[in-house]
C-alpha cells in the first residue's frame, strides 16, 4: 500500500537530519556491533578449539591416582598403577582401550657438535604414532622390543633433525642427554612430521618434541600414577572412563573414587559450556544496549513528532488516516534502527576481522546472525517507535494545524 512511500519518506527524513539520526542509532550500533564482534570471535574460537581437540585426539583419556583421596594415609607402592594393572585393563577392555602407557616425560639439554638445544622427551609405548596423527618420514617409531629392552632409542621430528644434524634423515645419529641424573646416548631410529597444533605454537619453548620408550624414564620401579589412553571413539567417554576407573579400583581393592579420569571430550564439553555461559552474558549485554538504543530512538521520534506536528496536521487534513500516520512513523523508527543494526553488523564484523587477523585465525561469520541482528534491531525500532507513532497518529487535525 503506502509502504514504498513511507520508506522513501523515512529515508529522506533520516537524510535530512544526518547527524541526529547517526547519534540516535549509536546505541543500536554499539549494541549490535559488540554482539556481532564477540559472537563471531566466539564462533571462530570455538571452531579452533574443537579442531585443536580433534588433532590432539578427541579420544584421548588420562587415568590417574586421586591424590585427594589418599591424602590421609601414606601412599603405598601397591596403590600405584603397575604393569600388571595395565595388562589387566587391556584384557578387560580389549576393544575400548586401543593404546595405553604410563604418561611420563622429561627434558634435557643436549649438544651435537657445536649445536646446543633442548629436547622434550615423552615416554611412549609401541604404536603411539598410529593414534596421534604422526607421519613417519624416516625410520620407524618406538617399538615393543625398544620398550622391553629399555633400549636407548629416540624418535625426533623433522625440525629437530634439521636443527641438530642439518638434514632431514638423521636415523642412526645420536644425542647425549641426561636422564634421571645419568648421561645416556640415544640413537635416532625415526624422524616424524607432525602438523603443529595450537598447543605446540603456544608452547614456543625452545625444546623439540621427541619420543623415547617410556621404560627408559622409569628408573626406581615400573609403577606410575598417571596413564595415558587412546580409546575407542564410538563409546560414550564419560561412561567408559567411569567403567575403567571403577574396574581399576576393584582389582586394586580400593574405594571407587581412588582413581580418576579426564578425557578430551569431557574437557571440550566443559569449554563449550563455558562458551555457552559466555554467550548468555553477551546476550544480556546486547539486550541492555539495545534497550538503551531503543530508548534513544523513542526519544528522537518523540522530538520528531513534536517538530512535525504541523506536517501531521496537514497530512490529516489531506485525508491521512490514523493508520497512515502510525505506519509512517513506525517505519521511520524501524528503518532508523535497522540502519543502525546494519552499520553495527559491519562494524562488528570489522572488529572481529581485525581481532581474528591479529590472532591469525580464520573468521567465521554466520549469515543468520546478520539477519537476526538487523531484524532484531528493526523489532526494537518498532517497539520503541510505537509510542511516538501512536502519539502522532492520535493528534487532532485542527490542533495539529494550529501548532506553532
Amino acid at each position: 500500500m503506502l509502504l514504498t512511500e513511507n520508506i522513501k519518506l523515512a529515508l529522506s527524513s533520516i537524510k535530512m537530519n544526518k547527524m541526529r539520526s547517526f547519534l540516535t542509532m549509536l546505541g543500536i550500533i554499539i549494541g549490535i556491533s559488540s554482539v556481532i564482534a564477540i559472537t563471531s570471535i566466539g564462533a571462530s574460537a570455538e571452531a579452533v578449539v574443537s579442531k585443536e581437540f580433534q588433532s590432539f585426539g578427541m579420544n584421548n583419556m588420562y587415568v590417574y591416582l586421586n591424590w585427594e583421596a589418599v591424602r590421609d594415609q601414606p601412599i603405598q607402592y601397591a596403590d600405584l598403577i603397575l604393569p600388571e594393572d595395565i595388562e589387566a585393563l587391556q584384557a578387560r577392555f580389549p576393544d575400548d582401550i586401543l593404546y595405553v602407557a604410563p604418561s611420563i616425560s622429561a627434558s634435557s639439554e643436549t649438544k651435537v657438535g657445536r649445536v646446543r638445544g633442548k629436547l622434550g622427551m615423552t615416554g611412549v609405548a609401541a604404536d603411539y604414532n598410529k593414534f596421534y596423527h604422526m607421519e613417519m618420514i624416516h625410520g620407524r617409531m618406538i617399538n615393543q622390543s625398544d620398550l622391553d629392552g629399555k633400549r636407548d632409542r629416540i624418535v625426533i621430528d623433522e625440525a629437530a633433525s634439521g636443527y641438530f644434524f642439518n638434514k632431514s634423515d638423521s636415523v642412526g645419529e645420536t644425542f647425549t642427554v641426561t636422564l634421571n641424573g645419568e648421561s645416556r646416548d640415544l640413537t635416532v631410529v625415526g624422524v616424524f612430521r607432525k602438523e603443529a597444533s595450537l598447543f605446540d605454537q603456544l608452547n614456543t619453548g625452545e625444546s623439540y618434541t621427541t619420543y623415547i620408550p617410556y621404560s627408559l624414564l622409569q628408573t626406581v620401579d615400573d609403577s606410575t600414577s598417571y596413564l595415558e589412553l587412546y580409546i575407542n571413539g564410538d563409546k560414550d567417554q564419560t561412561q567408559l572412563g567411569g567403567e575403567i576407573v571403577r574396574y581399576l579400583a576393584r582389582i586394586k581393592d580400593k574405594v571407587p573414587e581412588f582413581y580418576r579420569f579426564e578425557s578430551a571430550e569431557v574437557q571440550m564439553d566443559m569449554i563449550n559450556s563455558v562458551l555457552g555461559t559466555l554467550s548468555i552474558a553477551i546476550g544480556a549485554i546486547a539486550a541492555i544496549s539495545l534497550v538503551v538504543g531503543g530508548i534513544g530512538i523513542m526519544n528522537i521520534m518523540l522530538v520528531s513528532v513534536t517538530e512535525r506536528t504541523r506536517e501531521i496536521g496537514i497530512r490529516k487534513s489531506l485525508g491521512a488516516r490514523t493508520k497512515d500516520i502510525l505506519t509512517q512513523f513506525l517505519i521511520e523508527s524501524m528503518i532508523l534502527a535497522a540502519i543502525g543494526g546494519m552499520i553495527g553488523t559491519l562494524l562488528g564484523i570489522g572488529i572481529a576481522a581485525i581481532g581474528m587477523g591479529i590472532a591469525g585465525v580464520a573468521l567465521i561469520i554466520d549469515p543468520m546472525m546478520i539477519l537476526l541482528a538487523v531484524g532484531f534491531s528493526a523489532v526494537v525500532g518498532m517497539f520503541f517507535g510505537l509510542y511516538p507513532a501512536r502519539k502522532a497518529a492520535r493528534l487532532d487535525p485542527i490542533e495539529a494545524l494550529r501548532y506553532e
Partner: protein, 233 residues
C-alpha cells in the same frame, strides 16, 4: 442540478478553557446548493474559521447537525472523516500549509497517495493539476523556492487532487498582494463556472468577495446578513 450539498442545522461551537468559555458559533443554520460560489465575511473573531473547519470535517461542532451530501457527518468516525476530506473536500489555507522540503509535485500527489491512486497514474494527474494553475515549470521546486502566490496555487492544485466537489478556502488571499489575489480568485471562479465546483471562501476584502455570487456575513458567531449578488437564481 439544485441539489443541497451542505446543510447545517442549529450548529454551535463552544470553546472552553478552564473558567473561560467562548461561543465561536451560536446556533447557526445554513444551506448550500451544489455549484454555489460563496464568500464568508465578518470581523476578526466572528467565527468564520471555526465554521470552515467544521465544514471541512477538520473539527466537530459542540451541538447541532452537519449534513454533507445528505449524510450526517456527526456520526462518522475520525477515519471516515479523513476519507471524506480526502475525496469530497479540497481545503485551501491562508498560510498555504505545503509540506516543507517536499516538491510542489509531491505535495499535489499527497492526497492521491492517501486516496490509494496508483503510483503510475499519480504523477501525470498531479502534473495536469499544476498545469491548470499555471505552474508546470515549478513542479520540482521546493515550497521555500516559491513565491506566496505560487505556493497558494500549488495548494489549490493539491486541493483539487481526487476531484472533490467542494472547495473550501479560509482567507486564501490573506497573505497575498492584490495582483496574486486576483489570479487566485480567477482560478476559483473558473473552477466554479467551468468545472461546477462548489466554492466557499473566507475573506476580509470586499473586492475579493465580489468575485462570488453570495456573501454571508458573520458577527459574534451568528449570521447577520446573507446577500445574493447575482439576482434571483
Amino acid at each position: 442540478m439544485n441539489e443541497e450539498i451542505i446543510k447545517i442545522e442549529k450548529l454551535s461551537k463552544l470553546y472552553e478553557n478552564g473558567d473561560l468559555s467562548v461561543k465561536a458559533l451560536d446556533n447557526i443554520s445554513l444551506s448550500v446548493t451544489q455549484g454555489e460560489f460563496i464568500a464568508i465575511m465578518g470581523a476578526s473573531g466572528s467565527g468564520k474559521s471555526t465554521l470552515m473547519n467544521i465544514l471541512g470535517c477538520l473539527d466537530r461542532p459542540t451541538e447541532g447537525y452537519y449534513y454533507l451530501e445528505g449524510i450526517d457527518v456527526g456520526e462518522k468516525t475520525d477515519d471516515e472523516l479523513s476519507e471524506i476530506r480526502n475525496r469530497k473536500i479540497g481545503f485551501v489555507f491562508q498560510s498555504f500549509n505545503l509540506i516543507p522540503r517536499t516538491s510542489a509535485l509531491q505535495n499535489v500527489e499527497l492526497p492521491m497517495i492517501y486516496g490509494k491512486v496508483k503510483a503510475s497514474e499519480r504523477t501525470g494527474m498531479a502534473l495536469s493539476l499544476l498545469e491548470q494553475v499555471g505552474l508546470t515549470d515549478r513542479a520540482h521546486h521546493m515550497p521555500n523556492e516559491l513565491s506566496g502566490g505560487q505556493k497558494q496555487r500549488v495548494a489549490i492544485a493539491r486541493a483539487l487532487a481526487n476531484c472533490p466537489q467542494i472547495i473550501l478556502a479560509d482567507e486564501p488571499t490573506g497573505n497575498l498582494d492584490s495582483h496574486s489575489s486576483e489570479e487566485i480568485m480567477e482560478i476559483f471562479a473558473r473552477l466554479n463556472r467551468k468545472e461546477g465546483n462548489t466554492v466557499i471562501i473566507v475573506t476580509h476584502e470586499r473586492d475579493v468577495a465580489e468575485f462570488t455570487d453570495r456573501i454571508i456575513t458573520f458577527k459574534d458567531g451568528s449570521v447577520i446578513k446573507d446577500e445574493n449578488l447575482k439576482g434571483v437564481s
